[in-house]
C-alpha cells in the first residue's frame, strides 16, 4: 500500500512536471454542457492531487501496522496529533472558501467569523475538553445521561446533533457543488448530486471511519495549501501589508469601507448574536466533542485544544490574507466574471480564482483538490456523528428502549449514512447561493442553542433535571430553527417572500437565552423524586469529571 501511494506521488509529481513543461496550447477544452471553455490542466491536476490525497489518507488510516506488535498501538493519541485532527475536523470548506469569500465581498467584517470561530476554543479548553475525557464519554448525550434519564435526553441530543450536522453538511455540499461547477462547468444540480453520491461512497466504502490520521493528513494539506496561497499573495505585494490593503481599497467597489467595521454586521444585536453563536457553538459540535474520546488522558485533551487553537488561529490569519489578496487580484480581472459581470461560481469561489490568478491552472487544480478532499474528510466526521445520533440515540435508545443488538444498530447506522447523504444533496440544492461561512454560522447557532446549554449545565449545575434539560433544550433548538426560517436567509432568499418576519440573520442571542432560561425554569420547578435523585448523583459525576477518578457502582456483576 505504501508502494502504491508512493507511486501515486511519483505519478502526480511527474505529471505536474510534464504539465509545467508543456507548451501553452490545448490548455482549455470546450465541452457541450458548458458555455465556457474548461481549464484542462487544472482538471488533470485536480484529479491527480485528489487521488494522491485519497491514497495518502487511505494509507494513513490503515489499521494494520505490519511491524507493530499486538499492543504497540494502544495508549491513545497524543496532543499534537489530536490537535491537528481537531483542526482538520474544524477547518471545513466553509472556513476556507466561505471566509475568503466574505472578506472578498465586504472586507474587514469577514474577519468576524474568523475571530468568532477562534473564540470558541478557550471555552472548549476551560469548560469541556478535560472533563469530557475524564468522564470518557463519546457524545454530549452520554455526558448528560450520566445522571439524567436516557431516553428523553438522547431524544433531545439526537435532534440537536442532527440539526447541527444538517446545517454543517449544507455548507459542505454548497462548497463542493460550487467547486465542481466551476471546475467542470457542470450545472450546479448535477454537481451537487455527483458530490453527494461521491460522499456517500467515500463514507460507506471508507469503512465509516473518520480516523485521526485522515483528519491530520487533511489538516496538513489544507494548512500548506493556504500557506502557499497566502505566501503567493504576500510575495506579490513584496510582503508589505500596507501595500496589500492599499491596493485592495483601490480595487474594491466599497473603497475604504472594506477596512472599517460594519460592512457585514451593521447593528449591535446581529453582532452580539453572531458572536454568541460562534463562541458557544464550538463546544456543542458533536463531531468536535468526539475528538476528546481518542486522546490518552485529560492532559492530552488539554494539550490538543491548545494545538488545535494555534493551528486554527494561524489558518484564519491566512484566510484573511487570501480574502484581501482576492480583492486585489480577482476583483478587476475580467477572466473571472461572466458576461453579466457576475463572479463565476458565485460568492464562495474567490479563493479558487485567487489560486488561478497566483499560480495558474496548476495551482487552481491543486487548491480545488485540497478543498474537495477537505470537504470529504469533514463530511466523514459529520456523517459519523449524525449516523451515531440516529442509530444509537434515536433508534437503539429511544425507539427500541435499549433492546436493539449492536448489529441492528450497525445496520441502521449504514442506512442513516445514506439518508444523511441524500438529505445533504437536497439541502445543498435549496441553499445554493448562501455564503457557506454563514451556513456554518447557523450550524453553530443551533449547537449553541440546543447542545451547549445542556452539556454545560449537566457538568456544572447540580440542580439540572431531566425535565429542565429536555424542555429547555428543545425550546432552544426550536427557537433557533424557527428564527432561522423566519429570518431573511430562508423567508426571503429560499421562500421568496418580500419581507422577513424576524429581522436578524443570526438567531443565537435569542435562542441561547431561551434555552438557558427554559432549562433553569423547568429544572427548579421540578419537585419530583427523580429530580432529587439526579441532583444527588451530581457529586459523583462532578468528582469524576474533575479528576477522572471514581468507580461506577451502577453496573452489576
Amino acid at each position: 500500500m505504501t508502494g502504491r501511494s508512493l507511486r501515486a506521488f511519483a505519478l502526480s509529481s511527474g505529471l505536474s512536471a510534464l504539465l509545467i513543461a508543456a507548451p501553452a496550447q490545448a490548455r482549455t477544452i470546450q465541452v457541450p454542457w458548458s458555455d465556457r471553455p474548461l481549464d484542462l490542466r487544472a482538471i488533470i491536476v485536480f484529479f491527480v492531487v485528489l487521488l494522491a490525497a485519497l491514497a495518502v489518507t487511505h494509507w494513513a488510516s490503515r489499521r494494520s501496522r505490519s511491524a507493530a506488535d499486538f499492543y504497540a498501538s494502544g495508549g491513545g493519541i497524543m496532543g499534537l496529533q489530536n490537535g491537528l485532527a481537531i483542526a482538520g475536523d474544524f477547518m471545513s470548506a466553509a472556513s476556507f472558501l466561505g471566509i475568503a469569500g466574505l472578506v472578498f465581498a465586504v472586507g474587514f467584517d469577514g474577519l468576524i467569523y474568523s475571530v468568532g470561530f477562534l473564540a470558541g476554543w478557550p471555552i472548549v479548553l476551560f469548560l469541556v475538553a478535560e472533563r469530557l475525557r475524564n468522564l470518557g464519554k463519546y457524545t454530549f448525550a452520554d455526558v448528560a445521561s450520566y445522571r439524567l434519564r436516557q431516553v428523553p435526553v438522547r431524544c433531545l441530543s439526537a435532534c440537536g446533533s442532527l440539526t447541527v450536522v444538517a446545517f454543517y453538511l449544507i455548507a459542505q455540499m454548497v462548497g463542493a457543488g460550487k467547486l465542481i461547477e466551476l471546475l467542470f462547468g457542470l450545472p450546479y444540480e448535477g454537481a451537487v448530486g455527483a458530490v453527494g453520491i461521491l460522499m456517500i461512497i467515500y463514507v460507506m466504502f471508507g469503512g465509516m471511519v473518520a480516523t485521526t490520521s485522515v483528519q491530520v493528513v487533511k489538516a496538513v494539506l489544507l494548512l500548506s495549501g493556504a500557506t502557499f496561497m497566502a505566501a503567493a499573495v504576500l510575495w506579490l505585494v513584496r510582503f508589505d501589508l500596507d501595500a496589500l490593503f492599499g491596493r485592495a481599497i483601490a480595487a474594491h467597489p466599497h473603497g475604504a469601507g472594506i477596512v472599517a467595521p460594519g460592512g457585514l454586521v451593521s447593528d449591535p444585536v446581529s453582532a452580539i448574536s453572531l458572536g454568541v453563536a460562534l463562541m458557544f457553538g464550538t463546544a456543542g459540535l458533536p463531531h468536535i466533542l468526539m475528538r476528546f474520546f481518542t486522546v490518552s488522558d485529560a492532559r492530552q485533551a488539554r494539550r490538543s485544544v491548545v494545538f488545535a487553537t494555534s493551528f486554527i488561529g494561524y489558518f484564519y490569519i491566512l484566510t484573511f490574507i487570501i480574502g484581501f489578496g482576492a480583492i486585489v487580484l480577482v476583483t478587476n480581472n475580467p477572466a473571472f466574471y461572466d458576461a453579466a459581470a457576475r463572479l463565476i461560481g458565485g460568492g464562495n469561489m474567490p479563493a479558487l480564482h485567487l489560486a488561478n490568478a497566483t499560480g495558474g491552472s496548476l495551482f487552481l487544480g491543486f487548491i480545488a483538490a485540497v478543498a474537495l478532499a477537505t470537504i470529504l474528510a469533514v463530511v466523514a466526521g459529520l456523517t459519523l456523528a449524525g449516523a451515531f445520533a440516529i442509530s444509537h440515540d434515536l433508534y437503539a435508545s429511544v425507539l427500541r428502549r435499549g433492546q436493539a443488538t449492536r448489529r441492528e444498530e450497525l445496520r441502521i447506522s449504514r442506512f442513516a449514512t445514506v439518508a444523511l447523504g441524500l438529505v445533504a444533496i437536497g439541502l445543498g440544492l435549496v441553499f445554493e447561493d448562501q455564503n457557506i461561512a454563514f451556513m456554518v454560522g447557523l450550524a453553530f447557532a443551533v449547537a449553541a442553542s440546543a447542545n451547549f446549554p445542556v452539556l454545560f449545565l449537566a457538568m456544572f449545575w447540580r440542580r439540572l433535571t431531566t425535565r429542565g434539560a429536555v424542555y429547555g433544550g428543545f425550546l432552544g433548538l426550536g427557537t433557533a430553527i424557527v428564527l432561522v426560517i423566519l429570518s431573511p436567509t430562508v423567508w426571503v432568499s429560499v421562500f421568496g417572500n418580500a419581507q422577513a418576519i424576524f429581522p436578524y440573520q443570526y438567531p443565537a442571542l435569542f435562542s441561547v437565552a431561551v434555552a438557558f432560561l427554559g432549562i433553569w425554569v423547568f429544572s427548579i420547578t421540578d419537585r419530583s423524586a427523580a429530580a432529587a435523585a439526579e441532583a444527588r448523583a451530581f457529586e459523583a459525576q462532578f468528582l469524576r469529571s474533575e479528576t477522572g477518578i471514581g468507580a461506577d457502582g451502577a453496573v452489576s456483576y
Binding site: R62, R63, S64, R65, A68, F70, Y71, A72, S73, G74, G75, G76, I77, R133, L135, G136, K137, Y138, D142, G207, M208, V209, A210, T211, T212, M290, R291, F293, T294, S296, D297, L384, F388, Q403, T405, R406, R407, E408, E409, L410, S413, R544, G548, I549, G550, A551, D552, A554, V555, Y557
Partner: protein, 605 residues
C-alpha cells in the same frame, strides 16, 4: 452431446464456459417408464438427474415429499453426502432426464466454489455437516479400538500365602484396586472389595492368607481384542475389571471398567490417571510428552476442537498443579496462588506454545526459598516442553511474582493510567485462572480489577483498539490475501482471525465485567446480555473453532516433520472446502470487527 442443456438454472448457472463444456460432454439422456424407481433407498446414487420432461416423485418411505418437474435437479444432497439412507425417486409420469455422472458433479463442486455452494449452503450448515462426518468417524474409531489402546493397569503380584494386611498395603502403595494372586501355576485376582468383605462381613483376621479370598476363575481378554468385546465381557459377568493377557496367555495387567468407559468417552483418562500416579519429574515429563500424541490422535479421529481444547486445558492445568505441589514447600502452597494467563487461562492453548504464568503472594508473609522455587518451576515446565514466554510473563519475572498488594498497584496503573503495555498486561491478567495454591488470592485481585473499572467508555475504546491492529486477509472480492513466503502462500490465522475474535470479545466482556475467561464462554454470556445477537454468536463460535482446528492441523503437520510451528497455514495445503470455509470464517471475523468498531467508536481513532 445435447446443445440444448439449460445452463441458466442453478446450480449450473455459475459454471465457466470450460466447465459447461465438461458438463455437456459428460451428459447422457435417459428415459424412464412410469413407476420405475430411478434411485433406490439403499443404493447410493451414482448420477445427478435433471428432468427434461415428465415428473418424478421423491419419496421418504411411502410418503411423497416432493415432485420434480422439468428443469428440476435431483438428488443433489444424496450425491454429495454419499449416504445410502436417502429418499427414493420414483417416476410418476414417464420421464426423460439428463444424467450427469457423480464424479463430474463432485469434481465441479471442488473446482467451482459457487457451484459447490449449491450443495453446501451456508457456513453453519457446512460446518455442522463436516462435524457430522467427523462424529461418524469418531464412532467408527471407537468401535475399532483395541484393548491395548486403553489404559491397562500393570499387574502387581502377591503370593496366595501373603496376608490380607500385606495385600492391603500393596494396594495402597501401588494405588491400585486389584492384585494378581499367584498360587503355584494358577493365577487369581483379589480386589479391594474382596478384602473389605473379608474383613468387615466375614470378620477375618488381618493375618489371614489372601489366597482364601481371591478368585481363580479369571475372566481374561486378549490385548488385541476389540475393546467393546471387553465391555461385553464385563457386562456378561457383572464384573468391573478383566485381566488382560497376551497371545501366550501371559498376564499383562488389568483393564478396569472405569478406564474402559473413560477411554470410550474421552481417551484422555489414561493420561489423567498416569498424571495422578506420576511422582517424579521424569514421570511427569513422560506424561506431558504423551499429550501431543493425544491431541494428534483426537484430531485425527475428528473429535471437535472445542472438546480437545477443554481436555488439553484440563490436563495442562493438572500437570502444572502437580509440578507446583511437587516443588513447593508447604509455606508456598499455603501462601501463594499459581495463575495461568493468556491463552492458557482462556483454555485455548491446544499445543504447548509458551508459559504464561504468575504467582500471587499473600501480603505480609515472608516466604523462604521462593526464588529457587520459581526457577525450578519454570525450568520444569521448560523440560516438559513449554517454551519461555517471549513477553516474560512467567513466575521467574518479579513483575508477575509479587504480593497481592503489588498486583493491586499494577492493576491500578493499568486501569487509571492506560498505556500500550498496560493494556497488554490487563488483557493477559483478565484471562487469568488459578491453577494451584490459594485461589482466593486471584479472586481478590480480580474483584479489585472489576471494582476499578468504571463506565469510562474511552478506556474500553482504547483497550479494544488492538482488535483492529491487523488486517483481515480477505479481499474486496472475497479473495484470500496471502503472504508470499519461502514455503508458499501463507495466511496468518492468529493475526487475521483468531486474535481479533479473542480480543474483540475480551474487550466486550471486560466492559460487561464478565468473569468467564474462555472466548466461547464469553461469547455465550455476551449473547445472553444482548450485546451480540444469536446468529452472529453462533457464527463466531463456529468460525473461531474452525480456525483453531485449522491451526491445529497445520501445527500437527509441522510437528510430524519436526519443524517449529507458528500461526501460519499454507494456503496451498488447504482443500477447496477448507479454503471456502476459511473465507467464510474470515468474513465472520470482518463482521465482528465492524461490530466492535461500532460499539467502541473505533472509527474515530
Amino acid at each position: 452431446m445435447p446443445k440444448s442443456f439449460n445452463f441458466s438454472d442453478p446450480p449450473f448457472d455459475c459454471l465457466t464456459p470450460a466447465e459447461q463444456e465438461l458438463v455437456r460432454s459428460s451428459l447422457d439422456i435417459a428415459f424412464f417408464a412410469e413407476g420405475e424407481q430411478i434411485i433406490g433407498t439403499d443404493v447410493p446414487s451414482e448420477h445427478l438427474y435433471v428432468v427434461i420432461k415428465g415428473y418424478v416423485e421423491e419419496r421418504d418411505g411411502e410418503d411423497v415429499v416432493a415432485i420434480c418437474g422439468p428443469d428440476d435437479v435431483f438428488d443433489a444432497r444424496g450425491l454429495v453426502m454419499g449416504d445410502a439412507s436417502h429418499n427414493s425417486f420414483v417416476v410418476r409420469e414417464e420421464a426423460i432426464c439428463y444424467v450427469l455422472p457423480k464424479s463430474v458433479v463432485l469434481d465441479l463442486t471442488k473446482a467451482n466454489a459457487a457451484y459447490g455452494a449449491y450443495f453446501y449452503q451456508d457456513l453453519s450448515q457446512k460446518l455442522s455437516r463436516l462435524s457430522e462426518r467427523s462424529r461418524a468417524r469418531e464412532l467408527n474409531w471407537l468401535m475399532m479400538a483395541r484393548v491395548r489402546d486403553a489404559y491397562i493397569h500393570p499387574a502387581y503380584y502377591v503370593e496366595a500365602t501373603d496376608t490380607v494386611r500385606t495385600a492391603g498395603r500393596e494396594m495402597r502403595d501401588r494405588k491400585v484396586n486389584a492384585l494378581i494372586v499367584r498360587n503355584g501355576a494358577r493365577s487369581g485376582i483379589v480386589t479391594g472389595m474382596n478384602l473389605t468383605k473379608a474383613l468387615v462381613l466375614d470378620e477375618q483376621p488381618l493375618t489371614a492368607p489372601i489366597g482364601d479370598f481371591a478368585h481363580f476363575d479369571l475372566v481374561t481378554v486378549r490385548a488385541d481384542e476389540f475393546l467393546y468385546n471387553a465391555l461385553i465381557l464385563m457386562t456378561r459377568h457383572s464384573i468391573r475389571r478383566v485381566v488382560v493377557v497376551d497371545e501366550d496367555d501371559q498376564i499383562i495387567g488389568t483393564l478396569d471398567e472405569i478406564d474402559l468407559l473413560s477411554f470410550l468417552s474421552s481417551h484422555s483418562h489414561l493420561i489423567s490417571v498416569q498424571l495422578e500416579r506420576a511422582h517424579t519429574l521424569d514421570e511427569m515429563k513422560a506424561v506431558s510428552a504423551r499429550m501431543d500424541e493425544l491431541v494428534a490422535s483426537l484430531h485425527v479421529q475428528g473429535v471437535k476442537i472445542q472438546f480437545i481444547a477443554d481436555l488439553v486445558t484440563e490436563l495442562n492445568r493438572k500437570l502444572m498443579a502437580k509440578l507446583f505441589h511437587h516443588l513447593a514447600t508447604p509455606e508456598i502452597v499455603e501462601n501463594t496462588c499459581l495463575v495461568v494467563m493468556g491463552s492458557e487461562g482462556r483454555g485455548e492453548q491446544i499445543l504447548r506454545t509458551d508459559q504464561d504464568n504468575g504467582l500471587i503472594l499473600r501480603d505480609g508473609v515472608e516466604i523462604p526459598g521462593l526464588e529457587e522455587f520459581c526457577g525450578c518451576f519454570s525450568q520444569g515446565l521448560l523440560e516438559f516442553g513449554y517454551p519461555p514466554c517471549p513477553g516474560n510473563v512467567m513466575v521467574t519475572n518479579p513483575e508477575w511474582t509479587r504480593p497481592l498488594s503489588g498486583f493491586r498497584q499494577e492493576i491500578y496503573q493499568w486501569i487509571r493510567k492506560p498505556s500500550g503495555p498496560g493494556n497488554l498486561n490487563l488483557a493477559i491478567f483478565y484471562d487469568a485462572i488459578a491453577v494451584a495454591g490459594d485461589a482466593s488470592l486471584l479472586d481478590t485481585a480480580k474483584s479489585y480489577m472489576f471494582d476499578l473499572l468504571a463506565d469510562n467508555d474511552a478506556f474500553y475504546a482504547h483497550f479494544a483498539r488492538t482488535t483492529e491492529a491487523f488486517q483481515t486477509p480477505l479481499g474486496l472480492f472475497f479473495n484470500l490475501i496471502v503472504q508470499r513466503g519461502d514455503e508458499g502462500d501463507m495466511v496468518d490465522l492468529k493475526k487475521g482471525g483468531i486474535f481479533p475474535i479473542v480480543h474483540g470479545i475480551r474487550s466486550l466482556a471486560l466492559q460487561q465485567r464478565l468473569k468467564e475467561t474462555g472466548t466461547i464462554a464469553r461469547i455465550g454470556r455476551l449473547r445472553g446480555q444482548g450485546i451480540i445477537d444469536r446468529a452472529l454468536a453462533e457464527e463466531l463460535i463456529e468460525a473461531f473453532n474452525f480456525m483453531m482446528g485449522l491451526r491445529l492441523k497445520s501445527r500437527l503437520a509441522r510437528i510430524a516433520v519436526r519443524k517449529p510451528y507458528d500461526n501460519l497455514v499454507n494456503a496451498d495445503d488447504l482443500s477447496t472446502v477448507e479454503r471456502d470455509l476459511l473465507k467464510d470464517a474470515l468474513y465472520v471475523v470482518k463482521r465482528a470487527k465492524d461490530l466492535v468498531r461500532h460499539h467502541f467508536h473505533l472509527g474515530l481513532f
